[in-house]
């Protein structure tokens, strides 16, 4: 802390007045020749100590009152970012005064008096030095270049900024305060403006001294809450790059935010280090003024925090379970009235909600729905709730419904005579039950199966020229493959395809164990070591079935997998160092039964058994059908387009060019319609028989429509009745709906990397921005203190007076017969007359 009128500090010397009066009083006592010393001595033994203490307190109070008044007149000032704790200064001076008064009271005790005065002098010295130091530090800290500075204003445009407080949204208030700041800027100041959403956007990308430009940008339609959270670090990094373009030496970043902790990543030291190193490259490291707008304490909010579908691969063949999660992110109980599920805008179901949600509680509601057409569909869940934050009451998810899922089954046992020894055939039956040779009923023929299996004999695999239309390849009891084919399959997996390997008795370990990609990566999760035929068939250890592909059949109440028996299997050799392999289930002997390896973009699944009857009875169980389906879905998932992305991430759409296009180049453009209604045109890139569209402007949460040439759209999975549109959604982060504010620890963590100042009010911000020291004056408190001390002095004086005279006469009356002279005279006259 400092003093605005240092000269007035000399007023503290006024404490000399009571001290001198005290000392003068004592130094020149009035001499009185006195006889009744014995009574004085007797009374002093009882009173002297008490009187001394009372007098001492009175003197201290008088000195303190004067000192407090003098300090108040010196206008003490507590800077917002005080470098020297005020405890060293204000209390230091007051304690020094106190010690001086005590020393005066104890004047006759020379040793103690000197010691006290020394301490008082030291404390006073420390206080003065600390004040001077603070003044110097503050002047340096808040000094701005005379000409002007570069300032980047960051407006928090996150979802929570739409919250209203006193009839005004936080964002509107931020706009108002920004305007005030712009108006306060000096002519030499260069300003730029960043809209801080999930992806920061520079509204003014070059610092400009023209205030009109900045104001125009501030009031432009672009400058509005984007939703999502504010990625603070990205915004600051962008600010650093904008500041680098400015010519002024002094750099400042001003942020207007509600102080929501989400998006700050305050505890991620490395990211802040990166920012700090960016800042260090500027001529002077910028100061960050973060104006936290005041917020309400009570927050009522329910949101749809998630929509989850039970499968990632969905067709029109069977219903899918849609789970909608509701969360009360506020701090008071909420009671949303209804939950509505819509698909492509059409209401599917409306569930009235009766239960109250306590703060931070979540509730999951399930719906079953069978999509009727393939293509891109919008699943929207919306709650009807009267809460503070309306934007998160609805959540949209894009679901890509597949028309068909092509699977290539490579049959290694084609020479077997018996059907039950042909693994590929058994698998095909599991995938499409209608195509069994014995069953050709019309009803089954009509069933719309998603998976389209194609069986090819291992020896004929070379006839399949192109593997790319397939999403999953299953090697069923294949002994070995030609080297060219094994390389093609390896490349297929690396590009995102799925591979299921079920080696049977005929499998050649030499081939499988040596199977590698061109880069030398092993394909299979484990080595085939030797065949094992246990005397007693082994059961499946269902408790160990943790892999998503086998979780479904591991449920004992729904599946008959417990009856599964394995009578012949491959003992597998695992590489313990490998991190890409996981065991998804085991046999009761502990031997692995399902293994997964992640390879490139795709996955490889492997079982140590072929699914024919010689190795196990699984193919005769009911659970075989879901087991094969789940495995295929799991393997197909990576090749599917992800239509729900986080803000700021790149959206990539790729597909096979339709064969009718031949080798002609694509000249048309793709168009993306943003949630705000704006359109962006994109070029479509071509890579051999593939086309790729990349879109990066995904900072705005919401639904995006991408229009492509019809042939390409169809190839990308769009339905023909869907305007040849591909949909994708940029999702809000549910964390943004939970109002957690920056803690002191967060701020301390941030301050260890950058110079951060948190003004408590707009005035304080403007003071700091204009190069003055922000802070608050303390003179009122001191005047109040002085008055209180004076009051205490008056009360104490009064009390002492009362106490000293309480129940005491002012003199001792002698019981003399001559008490009344007149009465006595009268009596005497009377007596004499007698």
């Amino acid at each position: 802390m400092t003093f605005l009128k240092m000269s007035m500090l000399l007023g503290v010397l006024a404490i000399a007045i009571p001290i001198i009066i005290h000392l003068l009083n004592r130094s020149r006592p009035r001499p009185i020749e006195w006889g009744a010393i014995q009574f004085l001595l007797a009374s002093m033994t009882a009173r002297r100590r008490r009187v001394k203490i009372e007098d001492g307190i009175l003197l201290c109070l008088r000195c303190l009152a004067l000192a407090a008044l003098a300090l108040a007149m010196a206008r003490p000032f507590l800077p917002s970012m005080s470098a020297v704790p005020w405890i060293f200064i204000l209390p230091g001076i007051l304690i020094a005064v106190l010690l001086a008064s005590i020393a005066t009271v104890l004047w006759p005790n020379e040793q103690l008096r000197r010691r006290l005065l020394k301490i008082a002098a030291v404390m006073l010295g420390i206080a003065v030095l600390a004040t001077l130091l603070e003044q110097r530090i503050q002047a340096r800290r808040w000094m701005t270049a005379a000409g002007g500075g570069d300032t980047v204003i960051i407006l928090d445009a996150s979802l929570s900024m739409t919250l209203t407080s006193e009839g005004k949204s936080h964002f509107d208030q931020a706009i108002e305060e920004t305007q005030a700041l712009i108006e306060k800027s000096r002519p030499g100041d260069a300003l730029s403006l960043i809209l801080g959403g999930p992806v920061p956007q520079a509204l003014i990308s070059r610092p400009t001294s023209d205030r009109r430009d900045v104001l125009r940008a501030l009031h432009s339609p672009e400058c509005r809450p984007t939703g999502g959270m504010m990625a603070t670090l990205e915004a600051l990094n962008l600010a650093a790059s904008l500041l680098a373009e400015g010519r002024n030496a002094s750099k400042t970043v001003v942020m207007f935010t509600d102080g929501q902790a989400t998006g700050w990543d305050a505890q991620m030291g490395t990211r802040w280090n990166f920012l700090s190193s960016n800042f260090k490259q500027l001529p002077t490291p910028p100061r960050i003024y973060c104006r936290q707008l005041p917020h309400q304490d009570s927050f009522r909010n329910t949101l749809v925090s998630g929509i989850r579908l039970s499968r990632s691969v969905i067709g029109t063949d069977r219903p899918v379970k849609i789970e909608v999660t509701l969360l009360n992110s506020g701090n008071i109980p909420a009671h949303p009235s209804a939950l509505e599920l819509r698909v492509d805008g059409k209401q599917i179901e409306r569930t009235p909600l009766v239960k109250d949600l306590v703060p931070q509680a979540s509730e999951v509601y399930s719906f079953n729905y069978q999509f009727e057409t393939p293509g891109y569909h919008v699943v929207q869940a919306q709650i009807t709730s009267d809460d503070d934050l309306l934007a998160d009451n609805s959540l949209e998810r894009i679901v890509h419904i597949l028309d068909r899922l092509p699977v290539l089954l490579v049959e290694g046992a084609s020479t077997e005579r018996f059907f039950f020894r042909k693994t590929a055939s058994l698998i095909r039956v599991a995938l499409t039950p209608r195509e069994t040779p014995d069953n050709k009923s019309a009803a089954l023929q009509e069933l719309p199966f998603l998976v389209k299996p194609t069986i090819v004999e291992a020896a004929n695999i070379t006839t399949i020229k192109d593997l790319s239309p397939y999403q999953v390849i299953i090697l069923a009891d294949v002994s070995r493959l030609p080297a060219t084919e094994s390389d093609r399959i390896a490349a297929f997996v690396k590009a995102g395809g799925g591979l299921l390997v079920t080696p049977g008795a005929r499998a050649e370990p030499a081939f499988y164990n040596a199977w590698q990609t061109s880069a030398g990566e092993t394909i299979l999760p484990a080595r085939l070591e030797e065949r094992s035929y246990p005397s007693d068939p082994l059961k499946l250890e269902l408790h160990s079935f943790t892999h998503p592909a086998v979780k479904l059949i591991a449920q004992p109440d729904q599946s008959d997998a417990r009856l599964g028996l394995v009578s012949g299997y491959w003992k597998l050799g695992l590489d313990p160092a490998s991190t890409e392999v996981r065991i998804g289930g085991r046999l009761e002997s502990g031997a692995p039964w399902l293994l997964e390896r992640h390879l490139g973009k795709g996955n490889v699944l492997m079982t140590p058994v072929a699914f024919d009857r010689r190795d196990s009875n699984l193919s005769s169980l009911k659970c075989f059908v879901p087991l094969i389906h789940e495995m295929v879905y799991f393997l197909a998932a990576p090749s599917l387009q992800d239509c729900n992305i986080a803000p700021g991430s790149e959206w990539t759409l790729s597909g096979l060019c339709p064969p009718e296009m031949g080798t002609s180049r694509i000249t048309e453009l793709a168009t993306v319609v943003l949630p705000s209604g704006e359109e962006r045109s994109l070029s479509i890139k071509q890579d051999k028989n593939k086309f790729i569209v990349r879109f990066t402007e995904t900072r705005q949460p919401g639904l995006y429509h991408m229009r492509l040439p019809t042939a390409l759209a169809l190839a990308a999975g769009a339905a023909s009745n869907n305007n040849a549109e591909v949909l994708f959604a940029v999702n809000n982060q549910p964390e943004e709906s939970t109002l957690t504010f920056l803690t002191d620890a967060d701020i301390a963590a941030v301050r260890s990397h950058v110079v951060l100042f948190l003004p408590k009010s707009l005035d304080e911000l403007l003071t700091a921005f204009t190069g003055k020291v922000p802070g608050q004056e303390l003179w009122k408190i001191l005047v109040l203190c002085a008055l209180l001390i004076l009051l205490a002095e008056v009360v104490l004086t009064r009390w002492i007076t009362l106490h000293r005279h309480l129940h005491q006469d002012n003199s001792v009356a002698l019981k003399s017969p001559a008490e009344s002279v007149q009465a006595m005279k009268a009596k005497l006259t009377e007596l004499m007359e007698k």
Binding site: N25, R26, P29, R30, P31, I32, E33, W34, G35, A36, I37, Q38, F39, L40, L41, A42, S43, M44, A46, R47, R48, V51, E54, D55, I800, R804, H805, L806, Q808, D809, N810, S811, V812, A813, L814, K815, S816, P817, A818, V821, M824, K825, K827, L828, L831, M832
Partner: protein, 319 residues
């Protein structure tokens, strides 16, 4: 105080200035009254068994230095060539001895005291006037009066006599005495009690600044010796009111260099409470051993105070 004394004429010998005419006039108007009063408080109404001076001869006694030459029996001297003193049966009942405190503390001269010659009286001066008045009063009544002046020890002891010229001896002694050293009343009283053999009236004039227990013990000694005791307690007004306000240095009148610096305001109540308890102890002790306790404040003119005491005394006797 309108009862201040007027200056005495110049031709009066200095010691007789103690008998201020106006003051004495006040008391002399009371003389008759006083006589009656004195008769009232004599120790017994019966004839005294002790020998004294009177018209009725009792016996001869050998001369001793200090005896009045007028008492010599010249006839016996003519016959026997020896000095004999004629002794008579004592006529008066009263042998009074005045014990005047001349200790340092008696020198205190408060601003509020009654004035004599425009100057406030010290306690000692006040006491001296009291003593002189009593001497005059008692001698006028043909009573024997003696005088003891003392501080820490007996300074001067003048046995009681009735002779009229005894007055000048006593007054001279009173006039020449000045307050001096530390007071130690109790030992002095014990000594006096031993020295005054004949029982009689003891009039103690003092500020009694000593431990009250010791004083009361000494008074008890007097009473044990069958003396009648009147304790005239002289206090200055300031000692009773402690009116001082500013920081002061109280210098002990009895011991040089002994002083106290203090704030009188803060100490007043405690001081007054000490004084009150002291007075209460003395008064209570006196009451218990039938010592007539008469407090005087120097604020009150001694003549009037004395007269009123005598009047009071009479009224008591009459009852």
């Amino acid at each position: 105080m309108d009862d201040s004394f007027q200056t005495s004429p110049d031709h009066v010998p200095p010691q007789f200035q103690l008998l201020d005419p106006e003051a004495m006039a006040k008391i002399s108007r009371l003389e008759l009254l006083a006589r009656q009063t004195v008769e009232g408080f004599i120790s017994g109404r019966h004839q005294s068994p002790y020998r004294g001076y009177s018209a009725e001869f009792a016996e001869h006694r050998e001369y001793a230095p200090g005896d009045d030459l007028r008492d010599l029996d010249w006839q016996v001297y003519a016959k026997t060539d020896r000095y004999y003193i004629k002794q008579y049966i004592e006529e008066t009942n009263l042998r009074a001895t005045i014990l005047l405190d001349a200790s340092g503390s008696m020198a205190y001269r408060g601003e509020n005291a009654a004035k004599h010659q425009g100057k406030p009286l010290s306690k000692f001066e006040y006491g001296r006037f009291l003593a002189a008045s009593l001497v005059r009063l008692l001698l006028n009544q043909q009573d024997a009066v003696g005088l003891v002046t003392y501080d820490s020890a007996v300074r001067r002891y003048i046995p009681s006599r009735t002779r009229t010229n005894h007055m000048s001896v006593l007054l001279e002694e009173l006039f020449n005495t000045q307050p001096g050293a530390e007071s130690a009343l109790a030992p002095v009283f014990h000594e006096v009690a031993e020295r005054v053999h004949r029982r009689g009236l003891l009039i103690i004039i003092s500020d009694l600044f000593d431990r009250p227990e010791d004083i009361l013990k000494a008074l008890h000694h007097f009473r044990f010796r069958k003396h009648e005791v009147i304790l005239m307690h002289v206090m200055a007004d300031e000692e009773l009111t402690f009116p001082f306000q500013q920081w002061s240095q109280f210098r002990d009148l009895e011991q040089d260099g002994n002083h106290l610096e203090l704030d009188p305001e803060s100490l007043r109540s405690a001081y007054l409470s000490e004084v009150r308890s002291f007075l209460d102890k003395i008064e209570k002790g006196c009451g218990e051993m039938r010592v007539d306790y008469v407090p005087f404040s120097t604020r009150q003119g001694f003549d009037l105070a004395l007269a009123s005491y005598l009047a009071h005394r009479k009224s008591l006797v009459k009852r």
